[in-house]
Symmetry: C2
Subunit: 357 residues, 2 copies
């Protein structure tokens, strides 16, 4: 993996990654101008969680006019995009409309606890090709994306204002993605978000009782059941979990417990890329149309020793049938109870039948 760290004229970081050496003459284009960020956190006493307030974000870019793609390489210096021309494969830069990383010195007071919204929001451009998709990239390019996530997670976790690094992709307008160019995001939170905190606590509790990985035990059971796996490699697996909340939910994980992507061996990371590629290709080939989804990378938090944490990727496809969205409404959003209209075994059978070259 080759890497070049640049600075945009407005001070934001731009980091280029490639499978081959990167031309040292490449410079960062001058797109955008990062204004002040007035974010802060407030404590939600009835949910026991932090809410991030980022008032400066209300007017951010929303489906820019056709032809304007800020994530495509800059071809005309008078119309700079966020990324330069030249030979690179993956680019990372600080989000122009970052919800985290306040530039204000003070935190407003409120009738609940407040705290500084430290941290960082980054954009990960998966490829220069606006018509591609993460799953359609060559295997070694997907492996590079995993390497970029690992590299950024390590760099961001080292910051004193970061408690947890979360890489994700919102794919499709149905999920609210404002740009069609293949890209993901990284939120480096100043707290451990509730879902990841809960998962960590459950993993720890299982580890203390049984001495092994909770997800590892589930993977062993999934392999033995052989009903819901869609890829079984020497080092990684992909499967519809027995407890899927979304009809075509998929989990991709290394077979060996490791707390983060950076802790994987080269062979493990390559096989994880293979599992991820097959999972994404099957979703897009299922109905011969791009599947909208949220992809979430679960890694251990920034601080502490977490031998029970088992890095994995969860994919939540937004459709439950062709043309039918799964809506999050009263039961899910109001009570937190998911009701699935389909059985994981049936959906896994459909995905197992999809051929991927």
């Amino acid at each position: 993996m080759y890497k070049r760290e640049l600075k945009k004229p407005d001070g934001r970081d731009l980091i280029l990654y490639a499978r081959a050496p990167i031309d040292p003459a490449i410079t960062a284009p001058a797109a955008g101008h990062a204004g002040p960020r007035s974010s802060h956190l407030r404590w939600h006493p009835l949910r026991g969680e932090w809410i991030v307030y980022a008032g400066h974000r209300q007017d951010r870019t929303f489906l820019p006019p056709p032809g304007w793609n800020p994530l495509a390489p800059t071809t005309n210096p008078d119309q700079p995009t966020e990324v330069p021309a030249g030979a690179w494969d993956v680019a990372v830069f600080e989000n122009l409309f970052s919800a985290l990383g306040s530039t204000e010195a003070s935190v407003p007071e409120a009738i609940v606890d407040t705290a500084p919204a430290g941290g960082r929001c980054e954009v990960v451009v998966f490829t220069q090709d606006p018509g591609a998709s993460l799953g359609a990239l060559p295997l070694d390019h997907i492996e590079l994306v995993l390497g970029v996530w690992a590299d950024r997670t390590q760099a961001l976790a080292a910051r004193p204002d970061v408690a947890c690094v979360f890489a994700f992709e919102n794919r499709g307008v149905e999920v609210g993605a404002t740009l069609a160019h293949p890209h993901g995001q990284i939120y480096a939170y100043p707290f451990v978000p509730p879902i990841l905190a809960r998962e960590l606590a459950l993993q720890r509790s299982h580890f203390e009782r049984h001495g092994d990985s909770l997800l590892g035990a589930l993977i062993a059971a999934e392999l033995a059941a052989d009903q819901r796996t869609i890829y079984v490699g020497p080092y990684a697996v992909a499967f519809v979990p027995v407890c899927a909340r979304w009809a075509y939910e998929l989990w991709i994980a290394p077979r060996r417990p490791a707390p983060a992507l950076a802790a994987l061996s080269e062979l493990e990371r390559l096989d994880l890329a293979r599992a991820l590629r097959i999972a994404l290709c099957k979703l897009d080939r299922l109905w011969q149309r791009p599947m909208p989804y949220v992809l979430a990378v679960h890694q251990a938090p920034a601080r502490g020793h977490h031998p029970y944490a088992h890095v994995h990727i969860e994919i939540y496809p937004w459709m439950r049938m062709p043309g039918r969205l799964k809506y999050l409404a009263g039961s899910e959003v109001g009570a937190g109870a998911f009701t699935a209209d389909t059985l994981p075994e049936a959906k896994a059978a459909e995905l197992r039948a999809v051929e991927v070259p």
Copy 2:
């Protein structure tokens, strides 16, 4: 409150409520035919929660053809709807496509814990008028709806297979509502759903330390701050909470802690109806268009003594600006971290300025 309990020909309950006596000659129409329900629960080990699987629901009604409204009173006996003609104000019936209340004797085995999906899903028809909305109903009709929620909560909580009763409304196609006729739903779960369980634990913890209601303390602080309240009555309040996750989020609560709607006095319930009416009217008048929202009634669970539980209604409006939805995506759905682009004080100021007759 007047009430008549009927049975549909397929065995489902139908209960009519009214502000005046109900004609004893009214009978239940013969719409639909409740088939077998093969629901069950599976334990999600990484989230520590039950997932409901209801495979028989995949093909349920979805935006029926124009002119066909199963929630309107039956006018032609050859085309029966779910509810009869005659003088009633609110009707409740068992959902034809219930996710809960399995009719199967056995629970399938899986590689995680499974359990019977007991419980009940009900539909609450708020009015006979398909063009009305909950907030636009007369005050004593809204009060009746609160009474219906209280009555059904008590009846369902008494069932041995119910652990928690949750009344809610999904309003608008943006929220996935499949029928435009004003209606809500009640899910009587065989478990306490995660969000309500978490809230209960936080309320109990506060009560043990401070001896008072967590929400009551927040309401007192909101009243003292006088920035985000939109209705302050003698017995009830409505406000944008200081920790709002949705731009125009509203909470409606009695000022006195009471664990459930049934524990409110008549004066309290009437004032709560007034607060709810003003909240809903302000949301619809804000941009002169019906606001899509999820409305969730938070009450104590069915079992146990919960003096710390403080009944309230939370409303999550789906729009953050005119024409702009708040999407739940990576940060919210993947990590559980909400990022708000607006400040509760600013949105409360907008709602305070909306006049409601």
